[in-house]
């Protein structure tokens, strides 16, 4: 399933601040996007995709925002562009993010993506969007499930 949202979806709408003052991260997914889309946390299935407009994840630096989305089962966020802290937090915790610029993907469309080529395909409208290519190190970090598992396995990393 593809969920589509607009511009400037801030971290308070992804996971309200009042739920982040806890050490029990497993409860986050119950409240993800609850003010923006109250049915989301009940209907989301593993592998679902979120598509958004500009500046996705603006606001606070809370890592719980991408974490809540990842825990809910979302596999990738595809947006026109991302707020920078959200972008790096998402990679650090192993949630894929793809920037595709202006798009016309609609709610419920069939969408496929490939991190290694950076191609997003809207099968419903038969359109292709090339995403800004992620550096290989970031793809590797995502494949390991985040920076901590990556470092634990590889002990160090090279940036370029």
């Amino acid at each position: 399933m593809v969920y589509v949202y607009g511009d400037n979806i801030d971290t308070d709408r992804i996971i309200p601040g009042k739920y982040t003052k806890t050490l029990d991260l497993s409860t986050l997914a119950d409240h993800v996007l609850e003010d923006l889309d109250p049915g989301f946390s009940k209907s989301v299935q593993p592998g679902d995709i979120i598509v958004a407009g500009k500046n996705f994840g603006c606001g606070s630096s809370r890592e719980q925002a991408p974490l809540a989305l990842k825990q809910s089962g979302v596999s990738v966020i595809i947006a026109e562009d991302f707020a920078r802290i959200f972008f790096r937090n998402a990679i650090n915790i192993g949630l894929a993010v793809l920037e595709i610029g202006k798009h016309d993907i609609q709610l419920g469309s069939q969408v496929e993506y490939d991190l290694s080529t950076g191609i997003v395909k809207d099968l419903t409208q038969d359109r292709e969007y090339p995403a800004t290519k992620l550096p290989q190190i970031m793809i590797d970090i995502l494949e390991e499930g985040g920076l901590v598992p990556y470092l634990n396995k590889h002990k160090q990393y090279k940036l370029a």
């Binding site: 709408r13 603006c58 920078r84 190190i137 985040g146 470092l151």
Partner: protein
């Protein structure tokens, strides 16, 4: 071709002669800051890397600011867990309740941020550090945990945008008005995302550290990676007694490359207000004349400094806050609180009918000390006005400068501070 101040700092801290935008670098960090409600998670993540000792016990800075003083048992218990983990790691600088302040204020005021260096913190307004001629960057707990273990963080060298600020600051116009003006001018339309914003020009050179901190603080809300002001004599005077290490005054080269340069003359700048829910929906104060509100709030890492409290006291001296307005003032740190007390500002504010509370993030974090309820209309000198930010999603938050909050608190309606008599 030359480099910008941010490029030069990133080159220096990554051991390179030159860096260019887009490059990924692994830099040395001066300080890593984390706070009460995230700190335990941060240390847990640090330990999941197989580490028990932080890279430098004097460079991991721990601050209690969001949850203090605890308004309920849950937060009291979280704070106890936090204190335990800080103690266990033998952290040298722990600013806990009693010596507390908002983390970003503490980082600059206590000299943990130094010109020519890079510091990171697990809260979005770490951009504030740019006021000290440093690169200040907000990160999540994973980045902070890795930096606590290694003393390093990765960055992509950002493209630069310059704001050249000229003219004379007018009475009652503050750095906050410039921040909000830029917010309205640039919007959240994506073209400042990931950028480094550099503020230059005579109106920046004449700005005090408090104003510089306000300006750099809100660059995160423009989507920027960092905001920075070249260090000068004002920076050096501020840091000389508090700096926790050596620093280097680094400035941009004359032939540095900027993606865009915007010129703003502050002579024409007037008090500015952001309308509820959207930071970039700004108007000049005169357009809201007569708008009623019931809560006034001044504090936060954006506007809780001595100069901000002095502005409130100047306007509220021998005046009374309107009977329909509840005003809360929360100094940004214990140092600010004590300085304001000694200067007589706290007495002035209490005489005028304001409630003054102990330093913390207070209602700006939406969890205690004056949170907003259903139907509240808040006039705030904080930094964010999204729905639910200060508590109820059925409250409205107007954001503005301390001067506008003070002038308006007297009349009970949004009021241009230039129209009041003091």
């Amino acid at each position: 071709m030359g480099m910008t101040i941010t490029e030069k700092i990133m080159a220096k801290q990554s051991g390179r002669d030159k860096v260019v935008p887009g490059e990924l670098v692994w830099v040395d960090v001066e300080s890593v800051m984390t706070m009460d409600y995230l700190g335990k998670t941060c240390f847990d993540k640090f330990r999941s890397l197989g580490k028990t000792e932080v890279f430098d016990k004097s460079k991991v800075i721990c601050v209690s600011d969001h949850l203090v003083p605890p308004p309920n048992q849950k937060f009291a218990t979280m704070l106890n867990e936090w204190r335990e983990v800080v103690k266990k790691h033998d952290i040298e600088y722990f600013y806990d309740l009693g010596r507390q302040g908002i983390a970003h204020q503490i980082m600059v005021e206590q000299g943990h941020v130094l010109p020519g260096t890079i510091s990171i913190g697990t809260d979005s307004h770490a951009n504030t550090y740019g006021a000290a001629g440093a690169v200040g960057n907000a990160v999540g707990v994973t980045d902070a945990a890795v930096a606590m273990a290694t003393g390093k963080a990765w960055f992509r060298i950002p493209e630069a945008v310059k704001f050249h600020i000229t003219g004379e600051w007018q009475p009652w116009v503050m750095a906050k008005d410039l921040s909000l003006h830029i917010m309205g001018m640039m919007h959240w339309n994506g073209h400042l995302i990931y950028k480094t914003l550099e503020f230059t020009g005579p109106a920046i050179e004449s700005l005090d550290m408090a104003g510089r901190m306000t300006l750099c603080n809100m660059t995160v809300d423009l989507g920027a990676k960092n905001g920075i002001i070249a260090p000068d004599q004002i920076t050096a005077d501020y840091l000389k007694d508090v700096a926790k290490g050596d620093w280097e005054m680094i400035n941009s080269d004359e032939d540095a490359r900027y993606e865009a340069v915007y010129e703003i003359d502050v002579t024409d700048l007037v008090p500015t207000v952001a309308l509820p829910d959207k930071l970039d929906d700004t108007v000049t104060v005169d357009q809201l004349k007569g708008t009623k509100f019931n809560k006034a709030f001044v504090g936060t890492c954006t506007n809780g400094r001595l100069e901000d409290l002095a502005m409130l006291a100047k306007i509220l001296k021998d005046k009374q806050i309107h009977r329909d307005v509840n005003m809360i003032v929360v100094p940004a740190s214990q140092t600010v609180y004590l300085d304001a007390l000694r200067a007589g500002h706290i007495e002035t504010l209490i005489m005028a009918g304001a409630a003054v509370d102990t330093p913390s993030c207070a209602a700006c974090a939406g969890i205690h000390t004056g949170v907003a309820g259903d139907g509240d209309i808040v006039l705030s000198a904080g930094n964010r006005n999204m729905k639910g930010r200060m508590g109820s999603k059925n409250a409205q938050i107007y954001l503005t400068s301390p001067a506008v909050v003070a002038a308006s608190a007297i009349t009970g309606e949004i009021t241009d501070p230039r129209t009041i008599s003091i």
